[in-house]
């Protein structure tokens, strides 16, 4: 091994994507901007002084300071939810080797919604803690179901079949949700509160409920990233590299469901964030999941928080649900991606 052959390869191209530091700095600046916007903007515009009052002077009890305090928990909550959805999307794409996988497209969100509605209707549940477990069960069952249907037939699980299975399942589950909800007005009220609230319902208690799920989910995601990189080359290559593909898929899917289910339980069904955040990062950083996964958390947080602010501004004096905003931005992008993506089976 002579040294010239090593020096020919620039180290960064092997290990860290080009411009990674720059991307990281820009992301953190954007994150800061988002947080600031989320604290200041809304149906009531708050000045800088009031923001500082709300943040640092807990003894000042002006109306604006209280608005800011309410917005703090809302902002933290939307950052965490966005991070969870971003990582969940990245994991689902890696596990299914499908560029257009996302919790909402695969119907996993709707599964969680159905279980929560059933919980409200038949079990009389109403706390965040109870929502979470139901949502997780709903997400997990739907994920298995959609993947099972999508893999039927000779060519295995192709992106198109998975998306079709997800859309069909999602439509069927949505109508079930309506069928259960419409005859029961108390369910309707409770459900509307849960769904309309979106990230606006985020308070410190739901944040503390959410954090353990977020940490476990993201930890598993980061640990499995190198093996998922191998899986991206095909199951055969991955096996040759010493990856036990079945166990890896199980773990990664578990953490994807954990993240998406918990986020859905607390914020209501929010679509497309997983898709958007991952693709932005992949476009900038390339396909290395060791970077795409953690960075999707940051881009997911940015996208969801911005969408929430946009929803507040458009819907003023009330607010537009953040899920509606993300769907508006996400749907056209999904169509573009679906047209571009090469059909590859598992």
């Amino acid at each position: 091994m002579n040294s010239s052959s090593i020096s020919k390869i620039k180290k960064p191209s092997l290990n860290t994507p080009r411009n990674f530091t720059l991307v990281l700095i820009i992301c953190f600046i954007l994150l800061g901007v988002c947080v600031f916007a989320s604290l200041v903007l809304g149906s009531r515009l708050v000045g800088l002084n009031e923001v500082i009052d709300g943040l640092f002077h807990s003894n000042i009890d002006s109306y604006e300071a209280n608005v800011v305090r309410k917005r703090i928990s809302r902002t933290v909550f939307s950052l965490l939810c966005g991070a969870a959805l971003g990582v969940s999307g990245a994991l689902m794409q890696a596990v299914t080797r499908n560029p257009i996988a996302d919790p909402s497209i695969l119907g996993v969100n709707t599964g969680a919604t159905l279980f929560i509605v059933c919980g409200i209707a038949f079990l009389n549940i109403s706390t965040a803690n109870e929502y979470i477990w139901l949502a997780l069960a709903g997400s997990a069952i739907t994920a298995v179901f959609v993947f099972g249907i999508g893999s039927m037939g000779r060519s295995g699980a192709t992106p198109i079949k998975l998306v079709l299975a997800g859309a069909a399942t999602s439509a069927a589950l949505s109508s079930l949700v309506l069928a259960i909800m419409i005859p029961r007005s108390h369910v309707m009220d409770e459900f509307r509160f849960w769904q309309v609230g979106s990230v606006g319902s985020g308070n410190w208690s739901s944040i503390t409920t959410f954090i353990p799920f977020l940490i476990i989910g993201i930890l598993i995601a980061i640990i499995s990233a190198p093996a998922l990189n191998a899986l991206a080359l095909g199951d055969d290559v991955a096996t040759g590299l010493g990856v036990r593909t079945g166990i890896l898929r199980l773990f990664a899917a578990f953490s994807a469901v954990l993240l998406c289910g918990a986020a859905t339980a607390l914020a209501g069904p929010i679509g497309f964030v997983g898709l958007l955040s991952t693709h932005v990062m992949r476009l900038i950083l390339g396909p290395d999941l060791r970077f795409v996964i953690p960075m999707s958390a940051i881009s997911g947080a940015i996208i969801l928080t911005i969408s929430d602010v946009v929803g507040r501004l458009i819907g003023s004096p009330g607010e537009l649900e953040v899920g509606v905003v993300t769907a508006f931005i996400g749907a056209p992008i999904l169509i573009i991606l679906a047209m571009r993506s090469k059909v590859s089976s598992l």
Partner: protein, 268 residues
């Protein structure tokens, strides 16, 4: 030079779902040599190499490496000895040559170690052997078929295994690239002592490049040995069911098969 290994299969039966394809094959891979598996379409060549390289679990029989069942060796540890290039690997969109080759280092890395100097050196060396160092930062989508195949082999080389299985490494390549790939694999074997086991379609290239040939018919190993012993007109008829004339390859001196069809045969 790579160490010597004893890699054996004992009475393996393997297949898919309920269909058995390999019906009781026993063999020992000659260490530090190039072995080629030949046979007609659907004879089980691919299934055999997949079973040997642990992509398919055998229904019965034993596959051992240095006396240990390969199913009992931890998967990452096994991946440091036994490498594999399957027939149709997947290229992630937008991946660079260096990134793809670097993924071959997976079995050598642990969660905490990250990229070590050894990893960089292994990747650089693999790219140098396959002569793709200049392409390191290129996108795989921009490469020709021959260059792509060199990148994949480099990925398998970066894994630094003593044994390398390749399932039809020359398929879809034109003749120049086929020779180039086979020459590079021969370099690897002669300079580093890597044991190579591959499936090839072309019987003449098999005869030229193999030290040892395994011939399959209908899931059974019917003959094995050096090319001069295996490639005779009688045995080729047995293996492929084709009449042919076997002459001495004027370039390499290895056996050269000339097929006889129903047309274009001169009367003597």
């Amino acid at each position: 030079m790579k160490p010597t290994h004893v890699f054996q299969a004992e009475e393996i039966v393997a297949g898919y779902d309920n269909k058995t394809v390999i019906q009781g094959v026993s063999l020992a891979i000659p260490s530090n040599k190039i072995s080629v598996i030949i046979g007609a379409n659907a004879c089980g060549k691919s299934t055999l190499i997949k079973t040997l390289s642990r992509l398919i679990k055998p229904i019965s029989g034993k596959i051992t490496l240095d006396g240990k069942l390969i199913s009992k060796i931890p998967s990452k540890q096994l991946a440091r000895i036994l490498g594999l290039l399957p027939q149709s690997p997947i290229v992630p969109e937008g991946i660079s040559v260096a990134d793809l080759v670097g993924r071959g280092r997976f079995p050598h890395q642990s969660l905490l170690s990250g990229w070590t100097k050894k990893d960089y050196e292994a990747v650089a060396e693999a790219m140098r052997i396959m002569d793709i160092t200049e392409l390191a930062n290129n996108n795989i989508d921009e490469l020709s078929g021959g260059q792509r195949q060199r990148v994949w082999i480099a990925m398998a080389l970066a894994q630094q295994t003593d044994i390398l299985f390749l399932d039809e490494p020359t398929t879809f390549l034109d003749i120049t690239y086929q020779i180039e790939i086979l020459d590079l694999l021969t370099d690897l074997n002669r300079k580093h002592g890597t044991t190579i086991v591959m499936v090839l379609h072309d019987i003449n290239l098999s005869a030229r490049y193999a030290d040892y040939i395994f011939a399959l018919r209908k899931g059974k190993l019917i003959v094995e040995g050096e090319p001069s012993k295996v490639i005779t007109s009688t045995l080729v008829k047995d293996i492929f069911g084709l009449d042919c004339l076997v002459i001495k390859d004027p370039v390499s001196g290895s056996p050269f098969t000339i097929p006889k069809g129903r047309y274009h045969v001169n009367d003597e």
